[in-house]
């Protein structure tokens, strides 16, 4: 069953295209990290979360400066190379300073048949104005999709999609529980592939496979794995390189939990099943945890959240994966570092770009970190 997860994450372009050919359904790419995929799912199309591509940026640099977000560079590069032609639609959002301008480039160079852009606001006050505006944006997406497909997206369909998504999220949370209970039961790269596959393949199929896998893992004899327990944090919008996950383990560390986007952040919260499904998705959007530095929450501190999580799972340190040129994380990082230092939690910062910056340099840093947390 891992094979299917591998197939999607080894070559998402081909796997999704094959699914599209077989199902005769349409595919809509959604920009990370907050768009309500359930609305697209309820329209009968497959929402797939856009990903960091599998080759070096080339043509994209004719449109995006090198000192810009790796996710933006990747999506633009893929789009202008024609690699995303299988997407019938794309949905973008105002999430950060940089992401808000990506659709301009897409529209000018590789516009899909359906395109939408949501002005999703920060959640600071959770005020009436912001919630009302968010609701209007979700309704705008719903109306746009209805016009594109010619099919009504009823509340009933939305509730069903929420149910399917909640189910998948709860299974992923169960997988993480198992990892916390039995560190090392799956390799870091496998966990990453499972979560990433959930963003690429139909949730119904993913959940079926995941149910089987969980059932097997629950029965499987577990031998205590050796290694220092670490917590992975950050990596907003993009997935970390699989080689990085391998390196952490090869150096004698075990990832026991994370708050990365292609990880716990993606499936942390459910939407409630209520009579008002759009309202339920709005409420989900306004949930303040895991603290999201791009969403603008000031009452809670990401550093406090990390300290609590690290203590809870018994990790001995934190590996911060900072997506290069990501202002929300860049601006927050110094405060996290102080909180962790005050709590006596060792931490190491690794910058993650579209391509690996320097594998050897990262190895040295991680090796020193491992020694710092007491390993040899």
């Amino acid at each position: 069953m891992m094979k299917e997860f591998f197939r999607y994450t080894s070559d998402p372009y081909r796997a999704i295209s094959e699914w599209k050919d077989a199902s005769k359904k349409k595919v809509v790419g959604v920009f990370p990290m907050w768009l309500p995929e359930e609305i697209i799912h309820a329209s009968g199309m497959l929402p797939v979360v856009m990903w960091r591509s599998n080759e070096a940026i080339t043509w994209g640099y004719a449109h995006v400066p090198s000192y810009n977000c790796p996710m933006n560079k990747s999506v633009v590069d893929d789009a202008v190379k024609g690699k995303l032609k299988f997407m019938d639609g794309m949905v973008f959002l105002r999430e950060c300073l940089q992401s808000q301008e990506v659709p301009y480039i897409i529209e000018n160079n590789a516009c899909p048949p359906f395109e939408e852009y949501l002005y999703l606001p920060p959640i600071y006050h959770g005020d009436k104005a912001s919630k009302g505006f968010t609701r209007d944006e979700f309704e705008k997406l719903r109306a746009g999709l209805e016009k594109f497909t010619g099919e009504k997206i009823t509340d009933e369909k939305l509730r069903e999609s929420i149910r399917i998504y909640n189910r998948n999220r709860s299974l992923l949370r169960r997988l993480y529980e198992i990892r916390r209970e039995k560190p090392g039961i799956l390799k870091g790269r496998d966990i990453l592939r499972i979560v990433w596959a959930s963003m690429l393949m139909p949730k119904e199929e993913h959940s079926k496979l995941l149910e089987k896998l969980i059932s097997e893992l629950e029965k499987k004899d577990y031998v205590q794995a050796k290694g220092k327990k670490v917590f992975l944090s950050g990596c907003l919008c993009i997935h970390p390189q699989l080689e990085l996950m391998d390196m952490i383990e090869a150096l004698g560390m075990l990832v026991v939990d994370d708050d990365i986007y292609v990880g716990y952040r993606y499936f942390a919260n459910d939407a409630q099943l209520t009579d008002d499904p759009i309202g339920a998705m709005v409420e989900r959007y306004f949930i303040k945890t895991p603290v999201d530095p791009a969403k603008g929450e000031v009452e809670l501190h990401w550093g406090d959240e990390l300290v609590e999580k690290v203590k809870k799972v018994g990790a001995e340190g934190i590996i911060t994966l900072l997506t290069k040129y990501c202002p929300p994380h860049l601006c927050y990082y110094p405060d996290i570092k102080v909180k962790l230092a005050d709590a006596g939690i060792p931490e190491v910062l690794i910058e993650v770009e579209h391509e690996i910056i320097s594998l050897e340099g990262i190895r040295t840093r991680l090796q020193s970190f491992k020694e710092m947390i007491g390993g040899v």
């Binding site: 810009n68 009436k128 791009a294 603008g296 202002p327």
Partner: protein, 422 residues
């Protein structure tokens, strides 16, 4: 170069005492029992209109420090404090200054030190602006009020966003200002500021007409250093006097036929996109003027209230009036700030100011505009045949500005213009 081009600099020296006074008053505000608000983005007007509240405009402070060559020391303090270099240099400047205060670090020029704020206001055109407010809140516990100001993708979105912003301002910002200042929001004062500001901007717009002339009588840089009087010193008598004087100078130049560039005026009229490089204005000019090139117009400096006739100081809902100007007046800053409206705005400026070439300044630490710049250049070149280049750097961080790169690219642009003229 057969002709020896030199700049006939306009006398903008009046701005120095004016901005020094503004910042001095801010530094003295607490001693006078006033509250201090730090504000970023256009919602600055609301705290500015509050009589017992001194308002610090964060981008203005960055320009002030950059222009006075005080920025590098503060940026170093920020780095010592733990800030990462890829963040906005305006952000680092503020957190660096606060780190200097908190740690009592020595400072060469005490003018960089401002009083700690009682209230932070972010008009979130730029999301990173809000991130530095959040950081200050986390570190120093200062109340932060952050108002979402989305940049619009489509003009039909503008009325809906305008309503959302108005609701936020009334629901959240005004009560926070009232609570911090301890007084009811002063609408009359806001009206007075709008009236005086409008009058000054009408004079400023007359000055702009002299940029349209060929040869131009002044440069974008002259205007750049003259922004403070119509922005963070808006509505003050000395600001009005400054522009009266500027207009008189320009009228005199027009009468005597004195161009901005000696001896016979500019050879190349350039459009400048992006922030002004506050700490390096002289450096950039020295790379342009010897070729007879000068910046004439630009999107960012033109954003500072370009259509004063749009504002109605007598509007029934004066709080909403400013947001209306931002979103649904012909100015529509909230549309022109994004690449969709930006392209449209640039096209208009190119025509009005008879531009020969475009310089797109791409800040390595402020990514507000640089994602769409390459596509905008491509579209405009194809449509109008006006060449454009991107130059990389920063507004105030000298570690990110390479003179050789600037020289090579500026010369390449001028060669392209020459080639198209042949």
């Amino acid at each position: 170069m057969s002709v020896e081009y030199k700049l006939n600099r306009l006398d903008t020296s009046g701005v120095g005492p004016l901005v020094d006074k503004h910042w001095r008053e801010l530094r003295e505000a607490k001693e006078k029992g006033m509250k201090v608000a730090w504000s970023s983005g256009p919602l600055f007007v609301y705290s500015y209109a509050t009589p017992n509240m001194a308002s610090h405009f964060m981008a203005g402070y960055a320009a002030y420090c950059g222009g006075r060559k005080m920025a590098d020391e503060v940026l170093e303090a920020a780095e010592k404090y733990g800030e990462l270099r890829d963040t906005c240099s305006y952000h680092r400047l503020h957190t660096g200054m606060m780190a200097m205060i908190a740690n009592d670090w020595p400072v060469t020029d005490p003018r960089v030190i401002l009083p700690l704020p009682d209230l932070l206001i972010s008009g979130r055109f730029c999301t990173e602006m809000s991130h530095y407010m959040e950081a200050i809140y986390r570190r120093f516990g200062v109340k932060a009020v952050i108002i979402e100001l989305p940049v619009a993708r489509k003009t039909e979105d503008l009325p809906r966003i305008e309503k959302y912003v108005t609701d936020q301002v009334k629901e959240t910002l005004i009560p926070a200002i009232e609570k911090t200042s301890g007084s009811k929001f002063n609408e009359d004062n806001l009206r007075r500021i709008f009236r005086d500001w409008k009058e000054t901007c009408i004079i400023r717009n007359k000055c702009w007409e002299f940029l349209k002339r060929k040869p131009a009588l002044w440069t974008l840089w002259d205007y750049g250093v003259s922004i403070a009087p119509i922005f963070y010193a808006m509505g003050k008598p000395e600001s009005h006097a400054y522009y009266v004087n500027l207009l008189e100078q320009l009228e005199e130049r027009a009468a005597k036929n004195i161009p901005a560039v000696h001896p016979d005026g500019e050879k190349y009229r350039l459009y400048w996109d992006g922030w002004l490089p506050w700490a390096f204005l002289g450096k950039f000019l020295r790379l342009m003027v010897p070729h007879g090139a000068i910046p004439i117009s630009g999107r960012y400096p033109w954003e500072f209230f370009p259509y004063p006739e749009d504002i109605n100081p007598e509007a029934d809902d004066i709080i909403h009036e400013w947001i209306r100007v931002l979103y649904t007046s012909p100015n529509r800053l909230a549309y022109h700030d994004g690449p969709w409206g930006g392209k449209e705005h640039i096209e208009k400026l190119l025509e009005e100011y008879s531009i020969d070439g475009m310089l797109f300044f791409s800040s390595k630490t402020c990514r507000m505009w640089n994602l769409g710049q390459l596509d905008i250049i491509d579209k405009i070149e194809r449509k109008y045949g006006i060449p454009g280049i991107v130059i990389e750097g920063d507004m105030i961080d000298s570690s990110m500005v390479s003179e050789d790169q600037l020289r090579t690219r500026i010369e390449a642009l001028l060669e392209m213009i020459d080639a198209r003229r042949r």
